[in-house]
Subunit: 326 residues, 2 copies
């Protein structure tokens, strides 16, 4: 029996940052851009806020509050109702509830009752409207999260706290995750989201996280949802994950992350070799693999001499997203 | 007297990563792409290796070994001579010497006698040809370098070793630089280039650098040369800088970088506040400012709560370059 080929780091990035690049394949990129409808609002007509599949655009064309134009270039879906955040948000909520009612959209079956912000262009980072979390991939808007890697030990002797997702989770059951990871709901700062998730998912007390967690950049990618994400495939999900490190080597000695809800089965302390093996065998949730690769790049566990795809990997970990950002 | 407005971190990135983005301004980007000639070789006709200004393309159209087509889309400049690295390199050398002879190209007055590699597409990272370092911006090909930041002290108490460039340097005289920085000539690995430059520029012994220097990713940007770079303005310079950290806090206690050639006037140990002030006043060489911002992001001295442009900054530090990469 031959063992299956291990995934390379670039393979893992391709699985998560799966939307084509204009320069890598101009034709494939154009096909994609001609397929999707651009999400707009009347006060910012030159700004695309997200990309929608034709099936979603068709549904919206039958709902009030929306105008769909498939003769323009690009094709557009415009939210016509609302002149400020709260009236736009109310219209979007009504829409999402109506879409959920039809039962046509599997992603809405995991209704979260949690709002995600959609930002406008310009330095003010105005929230144009909020949208139910489970609906955000239907509209292809950027979503934001936090991911933290807790570790102990130095250099190549480092050991990383890796949780395994519960086998009963609807998305990516039993796959490996980052020590702490979660979405940032509207109105919460990244660091406050991190404090909340650290307690909820890993029982890490806020005073510890406040003292030892260090922001270390963000990872951005453009995911085309596949079957493992649950719900419709082909939906567009540009994402930004703020990344943090939690070095438990000295001050955090003896700290052990433990599950505090039913999302995580348990935590394991893995050496670098074991982490690499799990990455190669595809045992990590795709976006968690990407955050782990970023961790290894930043800490020098990957370098150009060993990794031929180094420069492309480092760029792809930080994709420039073509939408206003928070 | 009012003090001049300080540059923001995004201003500093805009100065270095100055080539437009397709999504930020499609029109400006198209204008740029229609202005430039795409550098090609016959064995890889769909691969653009660099962008050339019309003035350079005009000169090449009068030289043997080149074919210039300004009726195609995009306009192209093709190296017609050579079937392998050495014969192509010889043709490019002959061309560069002829261009230097005319005296028309100011950048060639700083002839370096040092070769830079131009890579082909695909995982093999084949060197298609080598080119004289000073000529690489005339052909708009990607160049590679190493930048290392040496520092001591922890958290916000960190102090960074910052050199000031010699006042007699032709490019960016008297501006601040990174502790160690230099180009990677053809055939040298990034880490070996770092060892060499560390000794040459900062008198840091190789055993120290081998023990303490840590790779921490790379910074990629697309620079349109301005007057401060010397020579012609408007030339295109996509660059990749491999970045390293040198933490002198414990094992490196007492180590003091000192000039070893005439490129650097001296080194100063600066606190974070001082570094920020110098960045804001434009006292750093543009690409060194970008490497310093990357350092501050990776170490958590910049975060989303304090820096509104955080996500754009982190993406822009890692631009996806539209050429084959080394």
């Amino acid at each position: 029996m031959t063992s299956p080929k291990l995934k390379s780091n670039l393979d893992l990035i391709n699985e998560c940052d799966s939307f084509p690049y204009p320069h890598k394949s101009r034709q494939l990129y154009s096909q994609h851009l001609h397929t999707y409808y651009h999400l707009r609002i009347p006060t910012h007509l030159n700004t695309t806020l997200g990309y929608l599949l034709p099936s979603v655009a068709l549904t919206l064309s039958n709902l009030p509050d929306w105008s769909v134009d498939d003769t323009s270039t690009p094709k557009t879906v415009t939210l016509t109702t609302g002149e400020d955040e709260s009236t736009r948000s109310a219209a979007v909520e009504k829409t999402c509830l109506a879409m959920r009612e039809t039962g046509h959209f599997a992603v809405l079956e995991k209704w979260r009752g949690e709002l995600y912000p959609v930002y406008g262009p310009g330095p003010g980072r105005e929230v144009l409207f909020n949208i139910e979390r489970s609906a955000s991939p239907l509209f292809g808007v950027v979503s934001y999260g936090v991911h933290m890697t807790a570790y102990t030990g130095e250099e190549r002797e480092v050991k990383i706290w890796v949780p395994r997702r519960s086998s009963t989770k609807q998305t990516y059951p039993s796959l490996l995750d980052n020590t702490v990871a979660g979405g940032i709901p509207s109105g919460e700062s990244p660091f406050n989201a991190l404090l909340r998730e650290s307690l909820e998912e890993a029982s890490l007390p806020s005073d510890l996280v406040r003292r030892l967690a260090k922001p270390a950049g963000c990872v951005t990618y453009f995911y085309i949802r596949d079957s493992r994400a649950g719900g419709e495939t082909g939906l567009l999900q540009p994402e930004c994950q703020y990344v943090y490190d939690l070095d438990l080597t000295e001050d955090g000695e003896g700290v052990v992350p433990t599950p505090n809800d039913d999302e995580v089965e348990g935590f394991e302390l893995m050496g670098l070799g074991e982490v690499r093996g799990c990455l190669g065998r595809g045992e990590f949730k795709p976006n968690c693999a990407v955050v782990m690769i970023d961790f290894m790049v930043r800490h020098g566990y990957l370098n150009r001499e060993e990794e031929g795809d180094y420069v492309e990997i480092v760029s792809r970990l930080h994709r420039f997203l073509e939408f206003p950002l928070g």
